[in-house]
């Protein structure tokens, strides 16, 4: 289905956060593509929003056109070619569908070569990665789409109810209704979805952050050395005893930079990427194993539709998804977040990493070093949240930094464009 673009009406472009799937589609565009009955005139523009009938005939006729276009689109006949029919056999004991006959491009990214946990006798890479079996969620999805026919081992064709009953909710397949709902909605949006290694609860490896080599490694050290020399020479000695009644910044000290004041004030320990991860809490929950897997694990790896995907050597996934049901699982606590994030590797730093500027600083803080998607399913309705692992403390004092002091007193400074145009931003 085509999404009409808001072409020459930029004021009517939807704000960033409305879901494209929630918007009513402009059906008149579709009718000009599907059938030849309606005269395909120029591409219909999205008109202005009407809030109430205003009694004009023009409004009535425009509405009727849109309704007709929608009905035409729904009446289009679905066709299947005989040459590209695909067939599979559902094997109950394995919980997989064995592939008998496959044609067509849809199955490029699906399936596994051999059932998991079996030793394969295939030697060549081609055999190892050839499509031998389809996973339950893939079988249901293809059958629903009409691209596949599934049979029982005895040769009787399997119905949609049958495949649902066999796959969803059985402990053999580990595919709950929520997991399938997320799988299907992502596949329909065009993504390439594969099971992650931790799908059924096998513990993943804990990932460590690489040491970030900063460009300015030299100058803070030098500055620190000089400042400690100056401190010894210039500043008066501190009183020996600090009582609870004294403030944290001692009254006798004086400073030349606000950064030194902030350094004295930063007392609260924070989570930092360069510190050793505390493995006590995470390993406990991971050690539960496959018997009762924690709901906080990565279920799927997904790739954007345009990725060149090779089944033998898949590129690193664009996103990782964890599926939770809002009815059975509460919002994550810190241990749950730790468990979930610990198995995600840190992406290698990008080209534009060293960019200065307020915008880049804020972007880095908002996105964090690594992220995981959380698909929250509430009785079939899926909403996605993106959890980003950040550390404000690692970024240091946000303002003033050393370079900003020169801008004090002048009208300069980059500022943020947003605050300007509306008087004073609050």
């Amino acid at each position: 289905m085509a999404d009409p673009e808001p072409e020459d009406n930029p004021t009517l472009a939807p704000p960033e956060d409305t879901d494209l799937a929630d918007e009513i589609q402009d059906w008149r565009l579709l009718s000009s593509l599907a059938s030849s009955k309606s005269d395909p005139t120029s591409l219909p523009r999205r008109g202005e929003k009407n809030f109430e009938p205003d009694g004009t005939n023009r409004q009535e006729s425009v509405l009727n056109e849109s309704r007709e276009a929608m009905r035409t689109a729904l009446e289009v006949e679905r066709k299947f070619a005989g040459k590209t029919s695909c067939q599979c056999t559902w094997l109950e004991e394995l919980g997989l569908a064995r592939v008998d006959k496959l044609r067509g491009p849809h199955f490029k990214n699906l399936g596994v070569a051999a059932p998991p946990n079996t030793t394969t006798t295939a030697n060549s890479p081609a055999e190892k990665t050839s499509l031998g079996y389809l996973l339950p969620e893939e079988t249901i999805y293809m059958l629903e789409r009409g691209s596949l026919e599934v049979f029982y081992p005895s040769g009787i064709p399997m119905s949609l109810q049958g495949i649902y009953a066999a796959c969803i909710g059985s402990s053999k397949t580990r595919v709950e209704a929520e997991v399938y709902a997320v799988y299907a909605s992502l596949k329909r949006s065009g993504y390439i979805v594969r099971r992650a290694a931790t799908f059924d609860g096998t513990p993943g490896e804990e990932q460590q952050a690489e040491e970030v080599v900063g460009k300015s490694l030299w100058s803070p050290w030098v500055r620190g050395m000089f400042s400690s020399i100056f401190a010894a020479v210039f500043k008066p000695s501190q009183p020996a005893v600090r009582t609870p009644d004294d403030s944290i910044i001692p009254t006798a000290r004086e400073f030349r930079h606000y950064e030194d004041v902030y350094k004295l004030l930063s007392l609260v320990p924070y989570h930092s990427f360069s510190s050793q991860p505390s493995s006590t809490s995470t390993s406990q929950s991971l050690a539960n194993g496959t018997a009762h897997p924690s709901p906080w694990r990565v279920h799927f790896d997904i790739w954007k539709p345009a990725t060149k995907f090779k089944r033998s050597e898949p590129p690193p996934p664009d996103f990782r998804i964890c599926v939770v049901s809002s009815r059975t699982t509460d919002t994550p606590s810190l241990t749950d977040v730790n468990t979930l994030l610990s198995t995600i590797p840190f992406p290698s730093p990008l080209q534009g990493e060293g960019q200065a500027g307020v915008g880049a600083q804020m972007k880095k803080l908002k996105e964090g070093r690594r992220s995981v998607l959380l698909a929250v399913v509430d009785s079939g309705v899926v909403s996605y949240l993106r959890i980003g692992d950040l550390s404000f403390g690692d970024d240091g004092v946000v303002y003033p930094r050393r370079g900003d002091e020169a801008k004090r007193g002048r009208g300069g400074g980059k500022g943020r464009g947003r605050g300007r145009g509306r008087g004073r931003g609050r």
């Binding site: 004294d246 004030l265 954007k304 996105e367």
Partner: protein
């Protein structure tokens, strides 16, 4: 857009000069860079060594007000201004942000002119009035267009041009005049206006200014004597949660709020209450006058310590309903703020030692931030 709306609001004072200091703490001027090959550059350092100077720090006084859980600073004679202009602490009780009620009252009484010392509330009111006028004009134009189409379809003749109605605006002005005369501003015996407003500091802000920076003295409301700094923390914790007695649990709401407040203030962020957006705190990079808040902070305690294993209440305190997470996310993303969940690891019960310094108490907590953003499959396809 009409011409009035396009014109910029009158230029206020230079905010980079006015809000130059991020904290109400006076620094010594920085020394010029030292060049080892140039003996002249040694001179400032030698002078600084021979004649050390300690700048006098500004001190402010506030009265603790337990009923409203805040501390009040008297702003007559420009007393508490330094707290707002250096670090955006506090809020005027009768104003939108900094205390401007007195200026507006003087303007209403007639002591200063209509365009002198324009406050931000007045600038906003004028801009909104201009936008209202523009919307009325636009509505009229649309109405005329609709009527024209209707007449065309019915086949009637186009109407004669009409005069705009001027009498409507006159009626409004009279109503406004009457409203203004209804309120009389209080004056003292000499006839000068009394400033009814004061600057209100929240309790985490007061503790930070008084104990961490040492620039604020807090007075007891009944005895008017200053409260020693070691007693401030227990006093504020009891004010937030009056039911508590005896030993304070480590996860009482004031302690969690203060730990997060102190953490972000020590990183240079301006931290303001976030109740307008259903969160705990808002973070501004330099302050509200420079840009909108970037982040909205939700505080969630975490009881990961082994001593909390069997605690039944723990799960209830750690979790939030899913719809709260989603709706807060929606509200904040409409205003372009990123929601950050701030997990605070709570130390075990009884780990506090009586009579210890605030630093020791703060060091026992640990903070971890995680950002929550909405993700849409249709928008992230490429």
């Amino acid at each position: 857009m009409t011409e009035e709306v396009k014109k910029r609001s009158p230029q206020g004072p230079n905010i980079h000069l006015l809000y130059a200091d991020p904290l109400p703490y006076v620094l010594l001027p920085p020394l010029p860079p030292l060049h080892l090959h140039n003996p002249l550059s040694y001179i400032p350092y030698i002078l600084a060594y021979l004649f050390p100077s300690t700048p006098t720090q500004p001190t402010f006084t506030a009265a603790f007000h337990p009923e409203s859980r805040s501390c009040h600073v008297d702003v007559s004679n420009g007393g508490g201004d330094g707290l707002w202009f250096k670090g955006f602490f506090g809020k005027g009780t009768l104003s939108r942000s900094e205390p401007t009620w007195f200026v507006r009252a003087r303007r209403a009484v007639g002591e200063i002119g209509q365009d002198e010392h324009l406050t931000s509330e007045e600038i906003t009111a004028r801009r909104r009035a201009a936008r209202q006028d523009f919307k009325k004009e636009r509505e009229k134009a649309e109405q005329k267009e609709r009527e024209r189409i209707l007449r065309e379809e019915r086949g009637e003749a186009p109407p004669l041009p009409e005069d705009d109605k001027e009498s409507e605006s006159e009626v409004d002005e009279e109503a406004i005049e009457q409203e203004k005369d209804a309120y009389t501003y209080p004056t003292d015996t000499n006839g000068t206006l009394i400033n009814l407003e004061h600057l209100q500091l929240t309790l985490p802000e007061s503790l930070f200014l008084a104990h961490a920076l040492g620039t604020l003295t807090i007075l007891d409301p009944h005895t008017s004597r200053s409260i020693p700094q070691s007693q401030l923390l227990p006093l504020f914790r009891r004010a937030y949660n009056p039911v508590l007695g005896g030993v304070m649990p480590p996860d009482d709401p004031f302690m969690l709020n203060y730990v997060v407040y102190h953490h972000f203030r020590s990183l240079g962020w301006v931290v303001k209450p976030g109740v307008k957006f259903a969160v705990d705190y808002l973070l501004y990079r330099r302050g509200p006058v420079f840009s909108h808040a970037e982040f909205a902070i939700m505080i969630i305690p975490s009881y990961a310590h082994p001593s909390y294993e069997g605690d039944v209440e723990r799960k209830r305190k750690e979790s939030r309903p899913w719809h709260l997470l989603h709706s807060t996310n929606r509200v904040c993303s409409q205003v372009k703020k990123t929601v950050i969940l701030c997990f605070v690891e709570v130390p075990p019960v009884g780990s506090e030692v009586g009579g210890e310094r605030l630093e020791e108490t703060l060091r026992r907590y640990k903070v971890r931030e995680v950002s929550i953003r909405r993700w849409q499959p249709s928008r992230n396809r490429d």
